[in-house]
Symmetry: C2
Subunit: 240 residues, 2 copies
């Protein structure tokens, strides 16, 4: 409950002490626009992740410690703010190094597929499969279909993750690379099952609010083991 109106005595004391604020709260301070924008987006991620996209601008402003109309100085509408939130989450959170980790397995033969997958998903979980992300991801998916591009994002996941995993599986089993023989949908289905299972794991923790009954690393390792164990039979049916 940080009240915006400053009390009479507080204000006068402040004026006497030159311009230096005694209050350690930076809330009253003015910020350069880019800094304020960053602060607003960060707070919006937290807020909308918690309450959903129908959360109101007044509560959000109060959390930041500013007045509600100030939001409209930086974002023409609430929708624009929400777009900024998703831009930050869905675009900026991809780490460049992941491209290499899931990339061509031949570049580092000593690094096998199981370890690659473990390393990738460990890191991916730390950056992406998180409370704010997974909740806002779901909110986005469930929102109006015309509004935002959940479709685009899933395509991004398929390009960057699913197809790369398939490529690794091909290489591990001595099969021709996707560049020579295109990936089939049934192959992708196998990788989607792994990815989906791991997302579901996060969802159970962050959305379903259930306690996981083992260490995340152990669960991850086990999931990858099951995936790799199930690959050969699935692969024979998928490729024939």
């Amino acid at each position: 409950m940080s009240r915006r109106p400053v009390s009479e005595t507080e204000a006068s004391t402040e004026r006497r002490t030159k311009r230096t604020r005694i209050t350690p709260v930076p809330a009253g301070r003015r910020l350069p626009s880019d800094e304020r924008v960053g602060q607003i987006v960060a707070a919006a991620i937290d807020y909308f992740a918690e309450v959903g996209l129908e959360g109101n601008t007044r509560d959000l402003a109060q959390r930041i410690g500013i007045t509600q109309p100030l939001l409209y100085k930086y974002f023409p509408s609430k929708e624009d703010l929400v777009d900024a939130v998703y831009g930050e989450l869905f675009v900026n959170r991809w780490r460049a190094e992941w491209n290499h980790w899931l990339g061509d397995p031949a570049t580092d033969p000593g690094w096998n597929l199981a370890d690659r997958l473990f390393d990738f998903y460990s890191s991916y979980a730390a950056y992406v499969f998180r409370y704010d992300w997974s909740r806002l991801f779901m909110f986005n998916l469930l929102a109006d279909r015309d509004a935002k591009s959940a479709h685009d994002f899933m395509q991004l996941v398929q390009d960057r993750i699913i197809d790369k995993i398939c490529e690794g599986v091909r290489a591990t089993h001595g099969l021709p690379p996707p560049a020579h023989v295109p990936l089939t949908d049934r192959e992708r289905e196998i990788a989607w099952a792994l990815h989906g299972g791991l997302f579901y794991l996060t969802a159970r923790r962050d959305i379903y609010d259930l306690t996981l009954h083992a260490e995340p690393d152990d669960i991850l390792r086990a999931a990858i083991d099951r995936f790799l164990a199930g690959v050969p039979s699935a692969l024979s049916k998928a490729i024939g």
Copy 2:
């Protein structure tokens, strides 16, 4: 999201057309209360599944072809209506025969675990893993944490499905039944992975709005195959 003032003419036109029923429902027709309640709940499932729980009561009423205050004759508040929706979906949609299908494997030895799982999830998908259900399930999970139903429902899933699957796995591998040796959390984790993967499959179709690249039955069969293939190694680690 845009809530800008509507022009005079625009508003008046809108309001005037309110009288004309878009829905060809016989105007003035009265229904007995129980029938009307059923109609409202059914429409509410459709409506809230489509637009989310923040959908308003006026639009819902218009879809049914009744006035908004009439909803309040049968449901004291919107929350009560939403509760009725979830009661219908989460409680009434459970088929009694499923208890037998996933029950004690000894009752019908000729019916192996793979087929039992296939039959169950085929049926379960037809009744539960559907558009309206999966979307409302997610809306519920994402809603206020204090809302009880999500947690209760997940417990129900664990009792009725997860633990039964584990029981079947135990029996198939000649291990003692849960009644003698209690299930471990790590065992449940394996079954959750199967269940989660299949839910994710539905979610991809109904929520993510993606096309599945194979026949549902084939995908289901493949998922169960992978699950059963991965069980032994996972089991050895889980039980040791």
